[in-house]
């Protein structure tokens, strides 16, 4: 399973990836493979605040609904409308076009506390 080297992770498989001054949230390749075909995503609207470790949305696959946990705290500045219209983008390109929301982090140091790619790889039994 692919692990984006530029991202950091929660054990619950969400990632945060720096994009300029913002953080892009998504779910890992391992997570999308475990979920199977994604059929629905529910995401916060622009301007909403998200809190590290708290639920910021829901992702539903053919078989089940799963909560999405925010890897860092901040304010939503952009929502991926494409993935709302075509949730299969999460399966096709979870680190690229299948991103979920973009957040202005309120506490940039939180990013450092996340699992780095090697540590996340260990939690999913890789490397």
């Amino acid at each position: 399973m692919a692990i984006d080297k530029n991202a950091r992770y929660l054990e619950s498989h969400e990632y945060a990836k720096p994009s300029g001054e913002y953080m892009v949230f998504g779910i890992s390749d391992h997570a999308q493979a475990e979920l199977g075909d994604v059929v629905f995503v529910e995401l916060p609207s622009v301007g909403k605040t998200v809190t590290k470790g708290a639920i910021f949305g829901t992702i539903e696959s053919v078989k089940a609904a799963s909560d999405l946990y925010a890897p860092v705290s901040g304010t939503v500045v952009e929502v991926n409308e494409a993935v709302k219209n075509d949730p299969s983008l999460v399966n096709k390109d979870c680190y690229g076009t299948g991103w979920l929301v973009k957040v202005a982090p309120s506490n940039p140091s939180e990013f450092q506390s996340l699992l780095d790619p090697a540590a996340y790889g260990k939690t999913i039994g890789e490397e």
Binding site: G36, D37, V39, V62
Partner: protein, 372 residues
């Protein structure tokens, strides 16, 4: 779809094939079954709608009913009219208890000298016990499930594929009829029916030939340029759901009667059958709920979710729900109070505590081209 939580005790002869081809496996009706292959559940659904899907459905049960009293016995046990069935005809039916509860739904085949009954995997033991308990001494009920393998071949090009690989054409066999054919040297009873809404059939053949026939059909599909893929249970569920077919334990069950579930058409009130008196009383009294289709906007409805009126009172509950890949909609089947059962009625479905806009719609949600 509900994947049973208990550990599976059975595997089909194709289990190792599924695993080695990357299938995600899960317990269903006591069997460790493929939920989807690496293709993915949605693409598997779409392949079946556009070409050919192969389904390992060996978990299903088959009984043979024979003896001098068999005709009368079968007619009394199942709800559908069977007195007019002559070979090679078959018919969908229900099996009821005395209270009118649905023990199972099944397919009844009229063979030359016996009756061939196809039942759901999860109800095989219950059904067998029920038939045997009611059988008079001049009737024999034989469980053929272990010796019989069952593969479904479904999709708009399924008949074309089978025509090309069998010793005699299946296209001459009418819908809901059967025929004896030979594929790759294997004797097959072909029933032109299925559980996807598409044309195609179900193949019954000796269990030891499972791998040979499965691989032969996949290889012939490739050689003939007819896209043919193995399909898992997740797509089987979404295919049957779109096509308006019930899954026992959801739209029908021992606690649900055929009148409220919309299966009065499958009951022949001109004859005597187990459960008839109860159904007549239910019809006389009127039903307290009805099975409806519901399209939901902004979320995936699932089994157990509440259906509420615009005023917010609970009027029913979903028994199945999912994303429908062909029609690209989120939909549920639900039992609701009869006053809310009309297509076009506005309701809400509670998804994770939030009411979501929804509307009662006509079932089935999807009708294939060949039946339009």
């Amino acid at each position: 779809m509900i994947y049973m939580e208990e550990e599976p005790t059975n595997t089909t002869a194709l289990h190792d094939w599924h695993v080695s081809h990357g299938a995600k496996m899960a317990p269903f009706a006591g069997y460790d079954m493929p939920i989807n292959y690496t293709t993915g559940a949605i693409e598997e659904h779409l392949i079946t709608r556009r070409s050919v899907g192969l389904f390992d459905i060996d978990h299903m049960g088959q009984f043979e009913i024979t003896g001098p009293g068999a005709d009368e016995f079968v007619a009394r046990m199942v709800t559908a009219k069977v007195s007019d069935l002559v070979p090679p005809m078959a018919r969908y039916s229900l099996l009821l208890d005395e209270k009118g509860g649905i023990i199972d739904d099944l397919f009844v085949y009229r063979l030359p000298a016996s009756w061939w009954i196809v039942v759901n995997a999860s109800n095989r033991a219950t059904d067998l016990a029920w038939f045997k308990a009611h059988a008079p001494t001049n009737v024999e009920v034989i469980d053929r499930s272990d010796d019989t393998y069952m593969i479904a071949v479904q999709g708009p090009r399924a008949i074309e594929l089978l025509d090309k690989v069998s010793n005699s054409p299946v296209s001459t066999i009418q819908r809901f009829c059967w025929g004896n054919i030979v594929i790759d040297g294997i004797p097959v009873l072909f029933g032109r029916t299925g559980y996807t809404g598409e044309d195609g059939g179900e193949l019954f053949f000796p269990a030891e030939k499972a791998l040979q026939l499965w691989e032969f059909l996949l290889r012939q599909g490739e050689l003939l340029g007819i896209e043919t893929r193995p399909i898992g249970l997740a797509a089987r569920d979404s295919l049957r759901f779109e096509a308006g077919m019930p899954l026992h334990g959801h739209e029908i069950s021992i606690g649900i009667n055929p009148i409220e579930a919309g299966f009065k058409w499958a009951c022949d009130f001109e004859k005597e059958f187990v459960g008839k008196e109860a159904l007549l009383a239910i019809i006389e009294k009127g039903v307290s709920r009805k099975l409806v289709g519901i399209e939901v906007f902004g979320g995936v409805p699932r089994e157990g979710y509440e259906v509420v009126s615009p005023e917010g009172s609970v009027i029913g509950r979903c028994v199945a729900g999912m994303f429908c890949p062909t029609i690209k909609k989120y939909a549920a089947n639900a039992f609701v109070e009869p006053s809310f059962a009309k297509a076009g009625t506005k309701v809400s479905v509670i998804i994770r505590g939030q009411p979501r806009e929804a509307i009662v719609v006509k079932r089935p949600l999807y009708v294939p081209a060949y039946r339009r």
